[in-house]
C-alpha cells in the first residue's frame, strides 16, 4: 500500500533504450536480500562474531584447564598457596576469603570459596550453560513448530485441545514452573517408561527449559499458520490432492522460515537466562557441575570480600546474552519485509 513500495526487480533493472526489447526480469530471493542487508550492519555482525568467540572459548575449556590453568573445574586447592609476582598468597585465606584475580595463568580470575580456579569453572560452566541453552532452544522450536502446525492447520478440536494445553503451560511464570519441575525431578530424576535420566543429567534442565518456553513460540507461529492456510497457494496444493501433512510441511513450513529464524537466537538467549536463574536457585544444574548461575549463587554470600565471584560469571552472562540479542535483532531487521525500500536518513 505504501507508495514507496518498489519490487526488488526494480533495483536490478537495466536501463532500457528506446525501442529495445525489455528483458525478462528475475527477482532476488528474500534471503539473499536479507543477507545483503545484514552485511551492512556492523554492530550485529560484530555481536554475532563475539558470541561465536565465546562459544569457542567455552568449548576449549579442557584445553585451557590443561595448558593454562593446570587445574580442573572441580579441583580444590583450598589449603594451597600460589606464587604471584614473587609473593606467596593463600589460595583461600584462613578466614575463608579466596584470592582475587591474579591475572596470571593460574587463578587468572581468582579462586572461589573451595579454592577452585574461577576462570576454569567459568569456561566449563559456560560450556554447560551454552549446551543447555542450545538444547533447550532446539526442543522448544521443534515441539512448538509441530504444535503450531497441527493446531493451526487442522483447527477444530485438535486446535482447541492444543491451545488449552499451551494455556496451561503459559499460566505458570516460567521460573516458577521451572522451579517446580526442577525440584520434582532433582530428587529422583525422570523415569517415564523408556526415558530414564539420572538427576545429575544436564538434559533435565534443558528439557525443563525447553518445555517451559514452548507456548512463547507456539502461539505466534500458530497465528501465522492460520493466516497462511487461508492463502491461495494452499488451496492450489489442495486441489492437486496434496494431503494435510504434505501441505503443512511443503507449503506452510517454508513460509514460516523467517519467523523461525528470528526466534532461534531469541530462544537461545531466553534459555540461557532461564537456566542461570534456575541454577542460581538450585533447581537447574546440580553441583558439582559448574554453571554461571550456580557460580553466582555461591559467590553472593562472599560478595563483600570477593566481588569477582559474582562479577565474572555475571559479566559473562550479560555479554553472551547481549551479543546474541544484538545479532538476533540484526537478523530481524534484515528480514523485515517492509524494509524493501528502507528510508535513508538525510
Amino acid at each position: 500500500m505504501s507508495f514507496t513500495d518498489i519490487s526488488t526487480t526494480e533495483l536490478l533493472a537495466p536501463v532500457p533504450q528506446p525501442g529495445e526489447e525489455l528483458p525478462v526480469q528475475l527477482g532476488i530471493s528474500p534471503y539473499r536480500l536479507a543477507f545483503r542487508r545484514l552485511r551492512r550492519k556492523p554492530l550485529a555482525l560484530v555481536a554475532g562474531a563475539f558470541f561465536v568467540a565465546i562459544v569457542v572459548c567455552c568449548l576449549c575449556a579442557p584445553l585451557y584447564a590443561r595448558y593454562v590453568a593446570h587445574t580442573g573445574p572441580d579441583e580444590n586447592h583450598i589449603s594451597e598457596t600460589v606464587v604471584v609476582d614473587g609473593h606467596r598468597h593463600d589460595v583461600v585465606s584462613l578466614i575463608g576469603i579466596p584470592i582475587g584475580p591474579t591475572w596470571h595463568s593460574r587463578f587468572l580470575l581468582g579462586a572461589d570459596f573451595n579454592g577452585r580456579d574461577v576462570a576454569v569453572r567459568l569456561l566449563y560452566g559456560g560450556r554447560n550453560s551454552l549446551e543447555i541453552g542450545f538444547c533447550a532452544m532446539a526442543i522448544t522450536m521443534v515441539v512448538a513448530i509441530l504444535v503450531a502446525l497441527f493446531a493451526g492447520y487442522y483447527r477444530g478440536w485438535v486446535d482447541s485441545v492444543l491451545v488449552r494445553l499451551l494455556d496451561v503451560i503459559w499460566a505458570y511464570p516460567a521460573i516458577l514452573l521451572g522451579v517446580a519441575i526442577g525440584t520434582s525431578l532433582t530428587l529422583g530424576g525422570i523415569s517415564l517408561g523408556p526415558v530414564k535420566l539420572s538427576s545429575g543429567s544436564l538434559f533435565i534442565p534443558a528439557l525443563i527449559i525447553g518445555f517451559v518456553n514452548i507456548p512463547y513460540v507456539a502461539k505466534p507461529i500458530r497465528g501465522q499458520v492460520i493466516a497462511l492456510r487461508e492463502k491461495e497457494f494452499v488451496d492450489a496444493a489442495r486441489t492437486l490432492d496434496a494431503g494435510g501433512l504434505r501441505i503443512m510441511f511443503t507449503e506452510i513450513l517454508p513460509n514460516l522460515s523467517s519467523t523461525i529464524v528470528v526466534f532461534v537466537p531469541l530462544m537461545i538467549a531466553n534459555s540461557i537466562l532461564l537456566e542461570a536463574g534456575l541454577s542460581y536457585l538450585g533447581a537447574g544444574v546440580q553441583p558439582p557441575n559448574p554453571s554461571w548461575g550456580t557460580m553466582i549463587s555461591d559467590g553472593v554470600t562472599l560478595i563483600t570480600s570477593s566481588p569477582h565471584l559474582v562479577l565474572a560469571p555475571g559479566l559473562m552472562l550479560v555479554l553472551t546474552v547481549l551479543s546474541i540479542n544484538i545479532f538476533g535483532e540484526g537478523i530481524r531487521d534484515a528480514l523485515d519485509p517492509r524494509a524493501t525500500t528502507r528510508i535513508k536518513r538525510k
Binding site: 496451561v168 517446580a180 536463574g277 552472562l317
Partner: protein, 316 residues
C-alpha cells in the same frame, strides 16, 4: 460482548481444571521415587512417611490422590512436614512484602516503559532512539539477580547508601519501607522497562504507518492530535494486556529471584528456600496459586482487551 465474556470465562475454567491436574502430575506422577518420601523431606522417619502416605492417599488410586491434593490445597491445610508449619499461613506472612514489591515495581516499569518507548518512537533511528534501544537490549540481557547483586554491591555494601536487604512493613516505618524497597523495585523493573519500551516503540512505529493514521492527517489533524487520539490508543492496548499478566506473575511469586537476593521474605523467597531444602509442599501450593491467579487475570485482561478493541470479540 456478553457471549464473549461467557465463552472466555468457560475457557478459563477449563484451563484452571487442567492446571490443577498438571500441578498434580508434576509433583506426584512424573518423578521417580515415593511421593510420600518426597513430601516428607530429607529428615523424615519411616513412621512419618507412612503417616503422610495415609493422609495424602498415596496408596489409593490416582484420582483419589488428586482429590486429596486439591482438597488440601484449597482448604489451606497443606503442611510443610520438614518445617512443621502450615504452608498457607507462611504464605500469608510473606504476602505484604511480595505485594509491595509487585505494586511498586509494576508502577515504575509501566510508567518508565511507556515513557522510554514514546521517546524512542518520536524520532526513530536517531541517536536517542539508538541509545535507548541499546540500553533496553542490555537490560533485557542481564539476569535479574545479577542486576540486583551488582546494585546491592555498589549501593549497599560498598557505599551504604541503601540498606542491604530485608523488609520493613509499610505500617511500621514508611520511610524505611521505601528505602528497603527501592533497590528491589529498580532491579525488578529494569528488564521489564527494557522489554516494554521496545514493544511500545514497535507498536507506535507500526501504527504510524497505518492507513488510518495517514487518513487522520488528511482530515487535518495535527501531528500531536494524531499521536494522542489514534496512535497511542492503538499502541497502548497491547501494553496494558502484557502488564496485567506480568503483574500477576510477580504477585504470585514470579519475583523469586529478586526476593532471594534482597532477602525480602516474601512468597517468592519462601519458594526459593523450599527449593534449597527440597521441601515440596510449599512449592506445590505457591505454584498452584500463582497459576490460578495468572489464569484469572489473563481472562480479565482478554475481556478488557475485547472491550477496548472491538475487533476482538468478533474474531474468536
Amino acid at each position: 460482548m456478553t457471549r464473549f465474556v461467557v465463552r472466555r470465562s468457560l475457557q478459563a475454567l477449563i484451563v484452571l481444571a487442567l492446571v490443577s491436574v498438571f500441578t498434580f502430575l508434576i509433583f506426584q506422577v512424573i518423578p521417580n521415587g515415593s511421593p510420600a518420601a518426597r513430601m516428607a523431606g530429607r529428615t523424615a522417619s519411616p513412621a512419618q512417611i507412612a503417616a503422610i502416605a495415609r493422609s495424602w492417599g498415596f496408596n489409593r488410586p490416582i484420582y483419589i490422590q488428586y482429590l486429596h491434593m486439591m482438597d488440601k490445597i484449597f482448604t489451606g491445610s497443606v503442611i510443610s512436614y520438614s518445617q512443621q508449619i502450615n504452608v498457607l499461613d507462611q504464605i500469608k506472612r510473606g504476602l505484604p512484602a511480595t505485594i509491595s514489591l509487585a505494586a511498586g515495581a509494576g508502577v515504575i516499569w509501566l510508567a518508565l516503559g511507556i515513557l522510554i518507548g514514546l521517546l524512542s518512537a518520536i524520532r526513530p533511528g536517531r541517536l536517542l532512539d539508538n541509545t535507548l534501544g541499546f540500553l533496553a537490549l542490555t537490560s533485557i540481557s542481564a539476569p535479574v539477580f545479577v542486576i540486583g547483586a551488582v546494585l546491592l554491591y555498589a549501593l549497599a555494601y560498598r557505599t551504604s547508601v541503601l540498606p542491604s536487604g530485608g523488609y520493613v512493613p509499610l505500617t511500621d516505618n514508611p520511610w524505611q519501607w521505601f528505602e528497603h524497597m527501592l533497590l528491589p523495585w529498580v532491579s525488578l523493573s529494569l528488564p521489564f522497562i527494557g522489554f516494554y519500551s521496545r514493544v511500545l516503540r514497535g507498536n507506535i512505529l507500526d501504527a504510524k504507518h497505518e492507513d488510518y493514521v495517514r487518513m487522520a492527517r488528511a482530515k487535518g489533524l495535527s501531528g500531536r492530535r494524531v499521536l494522542t487520539r489514534h496512535v497511542l490508543r492503538n499502541s497502548l492496548i497491547p501494553i496494558m494486556a502484557l502488564w496485567g499478566l506480568d503483574f500477576a506473575g510477580v504477585v504470585g511469586g514470579g519475583a523469586i529471584l529478586i526476593e532471594s537476593i534482597f532477602d525480602l521474605n516474601g512468597v517468592g523467597q519462601y519458594a526459593a528456600e523450599s527449593i534449597k531444602t527440597l521441601d515440596v509442599p510449599p512449592i506445590m501450593v505457591i505454584v498452584m496459586y500463582t497459576a490460578v491467579l495468572v489464569v484469572v487475570v489473563a481472562a480479565l485482561v482478554d475481556i478488557l482487551y475485547a472491550y477496548l478493541d472491538p475487533r476482538i470479540s468478533l474474531n474468536d
